[in-house]
Symmetry: D2
Subunit: 334 residues, 4 copies
């Protein structure tokens, strides 16, 4: 409460808390009075109180996320992605190109991803692009190309869903893991829809989403019944212009403390340059990530999008080798 709060104002707050079915604790300090609401906090909103006279500020003591919280589920969750475990001792590197271009490109990509020892493949059929005048993805045709190329190598696929109206098509093409992109982290209607199905969802962090907002976005999916959620850190926006985004490694131990769900990292979109990827990948695994989402292309110089951040097959293979040592050093396999 404000330093000059009146007893009448205190009374109003107390009555409001009681009317909402909570008990009240009042702590009278030498300079401030603090009023506590005791009961199921999830039903209360700080805004309800901030507008009352005499209130300086109000806040939640208990975190707002429930299903996804570590508090509700102590053990690490291991998600089954068409037979591949995500979140256990084994680290999963999901490789593949930024976008699906041609059957030949995808066949080559799938071969190099499998050859490098990956068990999952990524690729974009629908691309969120800043400009309406650049390549927007191959669409449904791209899904088909991807599905076929990956199946030849027995690789479950990860691809991005941008539009609720496309969900049935994704199910029909048997997409193994649905990716919700950065720009859609708070597209709540899309979150609700993927909450109704039973496929693993990779939820990328919004470009300036707080950890708390990210967990709440996951809670939207979980509240619908789908608990197969994988967090993916991909760099956040800061003042620094030397790199596209800034990889937030600190979020890895913090998420591991706050949630039981797996956490992976996309070092390609974070740095935005292929030469940064090995360094960022090693950092992510060393910090405790459960996996990576890495862009690799049979011929990066010819890639239709994000050409500057894709590794070529040899660089990708070398990366997998160097990650093996890091994984061992922390008692994990890759």
């Amino acid at each position: 409460m404000n330093h000059d709060v009146t007893e009448e104002q205190i009374g109003t707050v107390v009555t409001k808390i009681q009317n909402l079915g909570h008990e009240v604790n009042i702590s009278r300090g030498t300079k401030r009075i603090v009023i506590g609401a005791i009961g199921d906090e999830h039903k209360l909103d700080p805004e309800i109180f901030d507008s009352l006279p005499g209130v300086e500020f109000s806040m939640h003591i208990v975190k707002q996320y429930k299903i996804v919280s570590r508090e509700s589920h102590e053990k690490d969750t291991v998600i089954d992605a068409s037979g591949i475990p995500i979140g256990g001792n084994q680290i999963q590197v999901i490789g593949g190109p930024c976008s699906v271009e041609t059957p030949e490109q995808m066949d080559l990509a799938a071969q190099s991803v499998a050859a490098a020892g990956c068990r999952l493949m990524r690729g974009g059929a629908f691309k969120p692009r800043t400009s309406p005048y650049t390549f927007q993805g191959k669409g449904v045709e791209g899904l088909e190309i991807f599905r076929q190329a990956a199946s030849k190598q027995n690789l479950p696929i990860v691809t991005e869903l941008m539009d609720v109206r496309m969900l049935d098509t994704f199910m029909k093409h048997d997409v193994d893991i649905i990716q919700i992109g950065t720009r859609n982290m708070q597209n709540f209607d899309l979150l609700k829809e993927v909450g109704r199905i039973n496929k693993p969802v990779i939820l990328k962090r919004g470009i300036s989403a707080t950890i708390s907002e990210w967990l709440m976005a996951a809670e939207y999916i979980a509240a619908g019944g789908n608990h197969n959620i994988i967090f993916c850190e991909r760099g956040i926006r800061t003042f620094e212009t030397a790199y596209r985004n800034l990889l937030d490694v600190t979020c890895i131990p913090v998420l591991k403390k706050e949630t039981h769900l797996p956490v992976i990292v996309d070092p390609s979109h974070a740095g935005g340059k292929a030469w940064m990827v090995p360094s960022l990948s090693r950092a992510a695994i060393a910090a405790g990530a459960d996996g990576l989402l890495v862009e690799t292309h049979p011929n990066p110089c010819e890639a239709w999008c994000d050409a500057d951040q894709a590794l070529n097959p040899q660089e990708f293979k070398d990366l997998m080798g160097s990650l093996k040592g890091i994984a061992e050093a922390i008692g994990r396999t890759i």
Copy 2:
């Protein structure tokens, strides 16, 4: 190019530019060589070059937005919102509650908005909320309540569209101005859909969108054929925690220079507290904004959401009075 670039690497870049149908200009400095591509830049992507050996970095000289740019259309565009002009000499203040609650609340709100001298009304039927456990809006029922209350006062309405599947319903209820919210500024499928209709669109700035990304998001709408776009600054995310968001007044003169389209400001979501709204509103108008989007509620303490940022009817009326003086000082009316 890098300081140790080879002639062969220069040749590769030159050939690539020429193959893409452009002419080449080479400037050989004492420390660096700069290669310029001459022609229609919109078809080129810096990424195409960044991945080539010897390239230090590449950039666009011409801005990527076209239809929305001041360069393509010198004069200010005045948008007709069901008879009310937005973007001309007259400043428009769009008042109304955060969310539609009941017919009584909306009737009272519409009366006070009209009484204060506003010509347009705002209100939310579908609410994007951080938590899935809080009030999500009254939905279609809310649209109906809003339409009726506003029509009694002859006020065109502004309301937020979150889901592409709701667009038909919005058209059926004759929403006068469609608002695209902060979290959907880069929901490209939604932008494409509102680009196909002929209703004015208020495009709110993403919480950490650059001016350039915002203009490109508008370009998505414009590219579909709908040029009735109104930019709405509503505060951006920074390190500061003393207020919800940070109102960016500098974007007002910058947008006025870069685009011919109107620019309005939402001081309520920017500051997040009712007591900040008058000060921010005056600043926005003084900086050159074409209008405001202000939250006002018949009884803020009882509001179902964002209670702490809504003005009560008297505060709202006082605000309108104080803005009149500012408008006059800069030669505009309100």
Copy 3:
């Protein structure tokens, strides 16, 4: 406390609070236990508790600033700057060039500043420059040139102090207002030194300082005995690259609420471009600023630094005229 806190851990915290001379209030909620310390909070540091087992987080309820707080001094403070009041009903515009160059340039600058109706003049003799290879200011010679040019027009002067060792020289040249620059906002030894003298101090906000840190920096000066402190907002650092810094107008009403000291704005460094200055200046005054710090140069194209942000004499005079209307609209003079 953590959700799984033990009674023993609670006991340790309680004992620690009591040993530090405070009383304890314990609020036992359904999901969390909150422990309050009652007494003079300024002596407690959250860090003391954060490291104890069972503690989830700790925080101050009372703000840490005292002398500068509105709570300690209800009325607005009006500072006497060699006869010119800062912080009262009259708004002060402090004009002048980025840096002192020559006696002729300063004479012309002082004439145009006085002619435009300003009562105070700015100018830099010591310049903090990002690069060691660019012009670093004329130094002591610059102070002399400035002092003479301003005195001819009867203008008290504002200039930046960067080095504690220069304070005596500043006193000898009778600098009327000492400016502490952005990069030195948390140069605590410098703050302590200017806290010992009796000259008004303009304390610029650090480029990414929170309001709270800024108030605490002022508290360093005030704690030394010098209460003549003027806050100067000059734009903060964000992700946006379209302008040099982002002017934070919201800090104006917030500071007015938190402190009794005057608040001015530097629109020149905020935007970084002369054409943005009029718009930002109007916004600052409309938002409630007590004054402005504006760069103007007799011939901006020939200025030795920050040439692109200085107004020429005519533009500066026009600005003063346009601000008069804004000031009147809010019941102030200029």
Copy 4:
């Protein structure tokens, strides 16, 4: 140049470039004209041109840092810190408490740092604190205590210099490595002073300094003649409130590309919590850092400052063990 630039405006820019002793290259595109200045760019400032009529924007093509740049010195520099190499194959972990408290505390700290296998020790005698009312460090007495405790274990010492007037005292007490703190990264007078001596300097990154500004701050030191500079990343400021600062691991590979000087990381100040330190330390080493600056205290719960981020001796020893595996995996020793 602007899209509507005139030939006369082009002429003015060309003349200005030529008058400054440079050659000119003009590239006439279909939509824009680009003018290049050829010669020693360090003498030119974009501001000189931005204020000329017809100029849209100007920029440096060559980076502004020289002595510290990788371009000027291809090989990694290994700095000799009183016999301990920093920047070579061997990784250095610099351990010690936040602040010097008592001889007993420093003796215990020095013993545990040496026992864990460190070759250098840190400790603060002068502390930059946000509040003037909290512990400001033991000062000169602290320097003496630190020097004695460390010498018993044969550990060279690292401690922070805040005030130019203290430099002689630092030399007298034979401080082995001088630390310039975050808040002083652009305290140019302090940088110039440490540029005149011959001691290694750890230059911490400003809380929101860009890589480029950081390199330029180092250039200030180098320009004075002292090339023994060690960059220290310690977390930057972002919108995220879940941790004190955000560790920027991407800056490690980027600095390694831009400069020949060593790069170390302070995981303690980055995360701000002891439990985050192991994860962040591993990430930093995996990303390629040449060392760490880690806070450890004989009894963290009793530490006089930053108690929540210090490791206890056992945790510190365990950390050293776990880092050994990471170092080996990337072919380095520790």
